[in-house]
Point group: C2
């Protein structure tokens, strides 16, 4: 089997970089001083043992972050960042994640390291066994596991480019075995570049057996290794499996999964899957936490590992595979225990390999980022640029512990800076970001089906729900959204159900509209184009109108649309009621863009001050929008006798807009607790009349102290089938209402049952 030839085959070429990735990353939870936390795993994270994204590892303090399997590195790192946001904000403001593989100072007594408080008894017992075998200190070492799968189309193309092996699964297994043997043999290169555990903190070693700093304690014999005598062959999958069970039989391992190889062969969820289907992917386990990356591993590292694996597939291996693999352990231990600032003993070999890799990239025409090889060569030339070197040098200025604590604090700050955003997905709509946050926290698998279209697939065990724009779901029926989309139909149905809606009529011509003057002349009424854009063409007559003004208003409205509406004007304050499944979860008052004078600053300055709030941004990616000072605002100021450099009196409120939309700088004020129940009942009943389940319905109320059953106490203006949620979650004033979580609990009621 000539893999070199197969790799350059024309049919293989298009698929060379096809791959799937997954990251598992452990870190210890610490308090803000860098001491091991004393708390349990956060309660706000759904506490199922099988949480897909955030679990506990050996200890209750070890948080493991698990990305979903991703088709691109971009996707992988988006998820890694997002899950970190959820982890951080779930821990609360008193904790952070320790950025090093080597744990922070440990308790003097080993027993005080708390084993993970899992529900499954067997899992707890297994951890007890590990504790007995290796001691709890070693189990506190953290790292990154990089799961890697060659794309199915790549493996198929390679398979078709040869004829020696007839069985596809057998072929696939052989591919992975070669890559694995070479990876173990050459993994010292990874340790050189990315090893990052030079020193330990207090109480890690009972007696420190090291003579000073090294490249990677974790990857050395002092790290996380099985007892001597555990030897497994990678010559074939049969040998691998029978050796493994032999180890268990001999009592050298308690279970097969206790085998701490730098590469774990994976068939599926269980070791036994390997026997059935062969190898489906491999798990690289020798990656130290990268202290200089917010999420413990860099994009460039992942790109390197991918390329390294292709290179190792290409590169010839030694004749005797078992020997070849064993030599790798020796080389690696040498490099792991070198001083972080000294050149590696195998510098020459490393240089050759980098040259070969770069050559291969050229032959295969792979689109690898330009800087990768520059960085690798820099690190090779200057050990102080390797991760271990950098950490060691930094630590020299203070201590490793202080450096780690201050890095943790930086990461902590980043995660709390814009708590409404979900890093990795900030291009998506805010409500969708918040919903994704809540779903991840609840342990629901989130898949993005169409990113521009805000289309999500949510999965909890076998239960799948699709969600678009945060609240367009399966719980609403189709025609009910079509009803809400059609204002005339909405009004008709509400009217038939005896709710008060503004009375009105549609007109297609000026003449028709003029003929109806008598209907409206003496009442408060509004003239508007059927479809309104930002209030253009609307005239409001709060006390009726004379025929001339009526005519003018009609003409104005017809400039915007060929159908106009003349409607009764309902006086009062407009409230948005957010109804989910027959319950009001939030009521919001929206106030037009405004500033409050202090007797010192100009309107321009007051606007700038108000816009400084990090909740204000633009384009619906922040909970509030910045107040503009454009033509419309200036006109509005002029109407009140102001200019932008006028200085309003103390406590004077200056409005800059007529309309109260949040999108034009309005303030959102939660009034859920202030609105009487009878008005909430009106909202709930009206939404039910429309057949809707998730709905934002707008009521105009003149005086909330008057009973809702009074004649004309309220009027319903419109109902929205995709109402904004973030404005309730991050209101300008008042209590936050976590509507996204209510949506999730409505879609997945089983979450509340368990």
């Amino acid at each position: 089997m000539d893999i070199k030839k197969m790799l350059v085959n024309d049919h293989v070429k298009p698929y060379l970089l096809n791959a799937r990735y997954g990251i598992e990353k452990e870190s210890n939870r610490v308090d803000l001083s860098g001491n091991l936390a004393k708390t349990d795993h956060p309660k706000s994270i759904s506490l199922r043992d099988e949480h897909p994204y955030i679990q506990r590892d050996f200890s209750e303090l070890q948080m493991e972050i698990i990305t979903p399997v991703s088709n691109t590195l971009e996707e992988l790192f988006n998820y890694l960042a997002a899950i970190h946001d959820v982890a951080y904000r779930s821990m609360g403001k008193n904790e952070m994640l320790w950025p090093l593989s080597m744990p922070p100072q440990l308790p003097e007594k080993e027993e005080n390291i708390v084993i993970a408080k899992l529900k499954n008894v067997e899992n707890v017992l297994y951890r007890q066994t590990l504790s007995d075998t290796y001691g709890r200190r070693k189990q506190m070492i953290c790292g990154v596991h990089f799961n890697f799968e060659f794309g199915d189309e790549l493996i198929r193309a390679l398979f078709n480019a040869q004829s020696e092996i007839k069985d596809f699964h057998h072929f696939k297994t052989e591919i992975y075995l070669k890559a694995t043997r070479n990876y173990i043999h050459y993994r010292w290169l990874v340790t050189y570049f990315y090893g990052a555990s030079p020193s330990s903190e207090k109480n890690f070693f009972e007696e420190d057996s090291l003579n000073g700093p090294v490249r990677s304690i974790r990857n050395s014999k002092y790290g996380y290794t099985n007892s001597a005598g555990v030897e497994v062959s990678y010559s074939s999958i049969q040998n691998y499996l029978s050796d493994l069970s032999l180890m268990v039989k001999r009592g050298l391992l308690s279970k097969e999964k206790e085998f701490y190889s730098p590469v774990r062969l994976r068939g599926g969820q269980q070791v036994s899957d390997l026997a059935v289907h062969g190898i489906n992917y491999i798990e690289l386990r020798n990656i130290d936490l990268n202290p200089f990356e917010t999420y413990g591993v860099s994009y460039e590292q992942a790109e390197f590992l991918h390329l390294f694996l292709i290179y190792l597939l290409w590169k010839d291996e030694g004749e005797n595979c078992d020997e070849w693999v064993k030599m790798g352990d020796y080389y690696n231990d040498v490099v792991a225990l070198e001083h972080p600032l000294e050149h590696t003993k195998f510098k020459k070999d490393a240089e050759n390999m980098i040259d070969e890799m770069e050559h291969l990239v050229q032959i295969l025409d792979l689109p690898i980022s330009d800087t990768l090889f520059i960085h690798l060569r820099e690190m090779l030339m200057d050990p102080s640029k390797t991760l271990a070197g950098r950490l060691y040098k930094e630590s020299g200025k203070s201590s490793q512990c202080q450096v780690a604590t201050s890095i943790a604090k930086e990461n902590y700050k980043k995660s709390w800076d814009k708590p409404y955003q979900l890093t990795g997905f900030t291009d998506m709509e805010l409500s969708t970001q918040i919903l994704m946050f809540d779903a991840i926290q609840q342990g629901i698998q989130v898949e993005i089906l169409d990113r521009q279209d805000q289309f999500l697939k949510l999965k909890l065990k076998d239960h799948v729900e699709y969600v678009k724009n945060g609240n367009m779901t399966s719980v609403d029926n189709y025609v009910s959204t079509l009803i809400m989309e059609n204002k005339t139909v909405t009004k008709k149905i509400l009217h038939q159900h005896a709710f008060r809606v503004p009375k009105g009529e549609e007109f297609q011509t000026i003449e028709q509209a003029l003929r109806s003057y008598d209907f409206f002349s003496t009442k408060p009424f509004v003239v508007k184009p059927k479809t309104t854009n930002y209030g253009l063409g609307i005239s409001i007559f709060k006390e009726g109108a004379n025929e001339e003004d009526y005519h003018k208003a009609i003409t104005l409205a017809f400039k915007e649309d060929n159908t106009i509406l003349i409607e009764e004007f309902i006086k009062g304050t407009e409230y948005r009621f957010f109804v989910i499944n027959d319950q009001v979860y939030a009521v919001l008052l929206r106030i037009p863009a405004n500033v409050k004078g202090d007797g010192k600053h100009t309107i321009q300055e007051l606007v700038n001050q108000k816009n400084n709030d990090s909740l204000r941004g633009s384009d619906h990616r922040t909970p509030l929008e910045r107040i503009q000072l454009g033509e419309l605002e200036k006109l509005m100021l002029k109407g009140q006798g102001y200019q932008i450099d006028s200085i309003p009196k103390k406590d004077e409120i200056i409005f800059l807009r007529e309309n109260s939309n949040i999108s034009t700088g309005g303030d959102s004020i939660d009034v859920t607790d202030q609105i009487p129940d009878d008005y909430k009942k009106i909202a709930v009943d009206a939404v039910a009349a429309l057949g809707a389940k998730i709905c934002g319905i707008d009521l105009i109320i003149e005086d909330t102290n008057v009973p809702a059953t009074n004649k004309n106490a309220y009027g319903i203006i419109e109902a929205n089938f995709n109402p904004s949620m973030y404005m309730h979650i991050y209101p300008y004033k008042g209590k936050s209402r976590r509507l996204t979580m209510h949506i999730i609990h409505y879609l997945f009621p089983e979450l509340l049952q368990s």
Copy 2:
């Protein structure tokens, strides 16, 4: 109470013509020769006794058509026409409706007139009583009942314009009582203009007591009247009700509803409602069937009656109301029994009244059609222009029976001319028209919420369903339609459920797309803009493509959209599967616009011939579209070496289009029975995977004889949440599939249970 003054009040004026209307119209069913039919009421009409639109009156042969309450005369007549269409087409092609009030020749033996076979025993017994009291012959007389209600806003405005009566319901009742008394007094005017029962047919009279033709047998003492001694006062609602119950107590009436007044006072469904709420509307019962109108009554008649009632409200009445009412019976009998061609005895009075009415129209500034008064005056001047006069004159040429039979045939033809249309609603989408037809037939109340938007409300007892565009309903969940709207998401979900969909990729730039050349070069593939309009910018490469053609195709597609798709091309024939609630109800093959040669005619002529089919029209208002001969078709002909004046050989098929859309003249061919079940299962399962309930899903199948489970046996192209239904109901070839009826049964399963 000065009603004259109230009517000219400024606050009353805007509402003067506000009113609600309803028509009940009876006709006898006859065979195509004009003999009384021997069949039962049509089975296809839902046989509930309380069918809202089509019922039986006294006899099984008397079909009663009932419109819903309508706010305008336009709406009223639309419904009247539509329900007639349903009645006609439900009777089948061997029957028609007799257009005269007087029945066709009756059986010699009265017992052979069949009493309506109702389910409710009480209703049958009541008819037996009528048969005993009046004889069955008289019960066979038919007519029109015109239900009239003054608009609520009008009554309120009038109420506010006076101060004598303090109670609103009392006031309303007084208004109706005045109109009623005057109507009975002056109803001879209606009999003069619109009386239309001059002669009877064989076996109506046991002994003909008439001396020749009259204006209206039906409205005379020989018509449909209670026995002598039945006298009821209209002086107040209390007197009216107590007189009525006295008549029942004395045995002169079997039930209160047996009181055959020319005006029936209505409170609600039951007579007893009157005591509670007073009068809500009145039912004018003295209208003969208008033989010259397809639906038995004209718009102008209805307009006259409305205006007449306003006039009667305005006009002073006599001092003694009971006397006043009684005089009306006398006058009316005189006019009813006048010869149809003679002037009426009360011509002078009639002229005065018409002058007064016209004057009133001027005073009140009512928008009445110009021709009404011209026609009324013509009829007054020339009795042969009244309905009775016209019918009598026509009958002189042959016989009344022959005239009636030929009129019935005309109406019959109209109703069968375009059996896919629903008269009155032909501006609506065809599928909606057919759905409305089926709903009316099934006895479901149909209300149009938005005509342009094809938005219906369907109601069966307390069960309400909203339907837009014929199949957008409450049974589909919202997100499932959003999935189908997004082609990428649809494909992803189907792929995740292991259905075959064309593999492909989206590209935003030419460079990106070029980079993927290797992926596609050797396979069949399609390049297309993400959103396609009539196939613009699409290139199909059935055998792969060289790099130059690939580049050209990409550039072409990017001219139409800024996102393009390159997709695997799946070979085979495209079929549309129509799935409702996990069952395939129709499979359609669509063939591009084509003609079949006969060796004689040119392509142009063949197209004209094919377009002559009444099923072909334009703009989706007929089941098929006319074939065009535009630029695209000419280009397509040119490609085959033809021009529009070429003469194709016998049986040669000439295609005029590439695409198979019905909207560009394609043929629809039903193949439901030819498609094997395993492909139907694929369609059903795929629709279920999308969570949809009503869906048209397009499968490409290379060979339906190959099992669907074979690799690549099929590919799914797209799923539609608002699939066209009419093309399955009226296919060009093959069996009709009444999908609208399946939708109705799906929405209202209770219809199938009863």
